[in-house]
């Protein structure tokens, strides 16, 4: 997984979801992904790293090693956590340049676009924005 490019990872997620026609199966997969999400260090589950949505909360912590950014994250809602897990899979351990230039098309392809709509206010859209902002900030530091 770690050696895949961002788009290869997106394609593999699309493949995985294409196995399921039924919504319940897709959500069951998200629930499992949410359960498998590596645990965020509790010390980062604080206000500074909180992305507050109206419906669910997301915590996001970046760790930059000078080359790539490792994201850890969590959510109080399990389905949101499943989508968080997918975003981490795609965008974590990437260079800032990669993260900034990524077009996240997999969300639409697996039929979860609504979950990233501003009207849902579940913290996910803000999470993607925040990941890109961190990438831009680290990119600026690097230069």
């Amino acid at each position: 997984m770690i050696n895949m490019t961002i788009n290869e990872t997106q394609e593999s997620i699309i493949d995985e979801f294409s196995l399921f026609d039924d919504w319940m199966d897709k959500y069951n997969l998200l629930i499992d992904l949410g359960k498998d999400l590596p645990v965020i260090d509790p010390k980062f589950k604080v206000k500074d790293f909180l992305i507050e949505g109206c419906q669910s909360k997301v915590w996001l912590h970046p760790d930059f090693n000078g080359n790539t950014i490792t994201f850890t994250a969590d959510s109080d809602a399990i389905i949101t956590r499943g989508i968080v897990a997918l975003l981490i899979k795609v965008l974590s351990d990437r260079t800032p340049e990669e993260i900034i230039s990524t077009d996240l098309y997999f969300i639409e392809k697996i039929g979860l676009r609504q979950n990233l709509s501003p009207t849902r206010s579940n913290g996910l859209l803000s999470m993607v924005r925040q990941m890109k902002l961190y990438a831009m900030a680290y990119d600026a530091i690097k230069k």
Partner: protein
């Protein structure tokens, strides 16, 4: 009274499928669906007599103005207001409360004065008063609630004082469903010569409302929550207040004489209706009132009590389900949570089963804070809902529980 199949046939949207499942619409607290007669009334305005009101000398403008003023009379008689002049069209409950908060503040409020609201209020009956208090140096006082989600009346009597200038409370809680004893609240305030505003956004559609019997000074509600169009609402005010209050918006139609030195205002109700009003909305609201009157508010209340009892019984029987708000007097709205399951997760799974509920704080964050929770799942039913739909919700909840177990 029409039977339930006939009633449901009046609402075209109730027939539709979502995700190939029959729609179970339990989000009536957010907005209600529209009967065919309301949709037809809007259609008729735009296809046969659309023209701006009170402005033209032509045939269509007369027709449109007449329909708009007939709508005002319809609302007047529906809430039993004394005069047409006491019925102002607005954009909705939020617009009505903001308007009164502004005008009342400008006219009467001095630093140190107090406004009383309750802990049950929707944000629309909190924020406008906070804004006014900030502008005028006044203080917002809050009637506390108990664990059942009822206001504590003795506490209300305790904070009511010579500093109180206005009491503004909801008729029913939008988040918990509690029916608030507004008549008692009004009586106690009036004993001290304090006017009262009643937020009827979640009250008007559930039972007979008689502003004269209630004796409230202001009553506000939204068209879209009583099966009418969105973007139109009502501000009822006793004439003595509305005559004395300054307008909250300036513009066309609300004026008598405009010069650059001074403008004199039009008489009631036009003084408060600046600019082009939502006249199709008002006409649609009149059609909605005709519709609910044809069913009868008493019949609606009776049917909704039956639905509430059934829903309460079904939900109480589900293990790990906790209902928030246990007052003996409620509208057909229930807020609940499932043990160990986030309300957003539950809402998303229910949605995929065609069941529309609302999750989150329901624009009533202080109520959620009281219970120390982030939000609830809210099922808000109305008279067109059925026992079968309640059964669908109950089995949907069991499915949610099995998925997140």
């Amino acid at each position: 009274m029409k039977d339930i199949a006939e009633i449901r046939a009046d609402f075209p949207i109730l027939n539709r499928k979502v995700y190939d499942k029959s729609l179970v619409y339990f989000d009536n607290g957010a907005t209600t669906q529209k009967p065919r007669s309301v949709i037809d009334a809007l259609n008729e305005v735009y296809t046969t007599y659309n023209a701006n009101i009170h402005r033209g000398v032509h045939f269509l403008s007369d027709m449109s103005s007449e329909a708009y003023e007939n709508a005002r009379e319809k609302v007047r008689s529906f809430i039993n207001a004394g005069k047409k002049e006491e019925v102002i069209f607005t954009s909705g409950t939020t617009g009505s409360i903001n308007g009164i908060a502004f005008s009342f503040g400008e006219r009467y409020i001095k630093p140190g004065d107090e406004i009383i609201i309750s802990h049950l209020e929707h944000h629309a009956n909190i924020v406008p008063w906070q804004m006014m208090c900030e502008r005028k140096g006044a203080v917002l006082r809050v009637i506390p609630i108990n664990d059942a989600g009822e206001i504590i009346f003795e506490e209300y009597l305790r904070i009511l004082s010579s500093k109180t200038r206005l009491v503004s409370v909801t008729q029913t809680s939008n988040s918990l469903g509690t029916i608030v004893p507004v008549s008692e609240i009004i009586d106690a305030a009036h004993a001290n010569n304090i006017p009262v505003l009643i937020d009827g956004a979640q009250g008007i559609q559930h039972d007979v409302t008689d502003v004269k019997a209630m004796d409230c000074d202001f009553y506000v509600f939204s068209g879209h929550k009583i099966y009418g169009p969105t973007g139109v609402g009502i501000l009822y005010g006793k004439e003595k207040w509305l005559s004395d209050l300054p307008p909250f918006q300036g513009g066309g139609d609300m004026v008598n004489k405009v010069t650059f030195e001074k403008t004199t205002y039009n008489e009631l109700p036009f003084k408060f209706e600046a600019g082009t009003m939502n006249y199709p909305g008002a006409i649609g609201l009149a059609a909605a009132i005709d519709y609910v009157m044809s069913i009868g508010l008493g019949n609606i209340a009776k049917r909704e009590r039956k639905l509430l009892n059934c829903l309460t019984e079904r939900l109480t029987g589900i293990e790990g389900l906790k209902i928030y708000g246990s007052s003996g007097r409620k509208i057909s709205t229930i807020s609940f949570l499932l043990e160990g399951i986030h309300q957003y997760d539950a809402g998303m799974i229910l949605d995929k089963m065609g069941i529309a509920v609302r999750t989150g704080t329901h624009c009533a964050q202080p109520v959620m804070d009281y219970y120390g929770i982030d939000g609830t799942i809210r099922a808000s039913l109305c008279f067109y809902n059925t026992i079968e739909e309640i059964n669908s919700l109950a089995s949907g909840i069991e499915k949610v529980k099995s998925m997140f177990a």
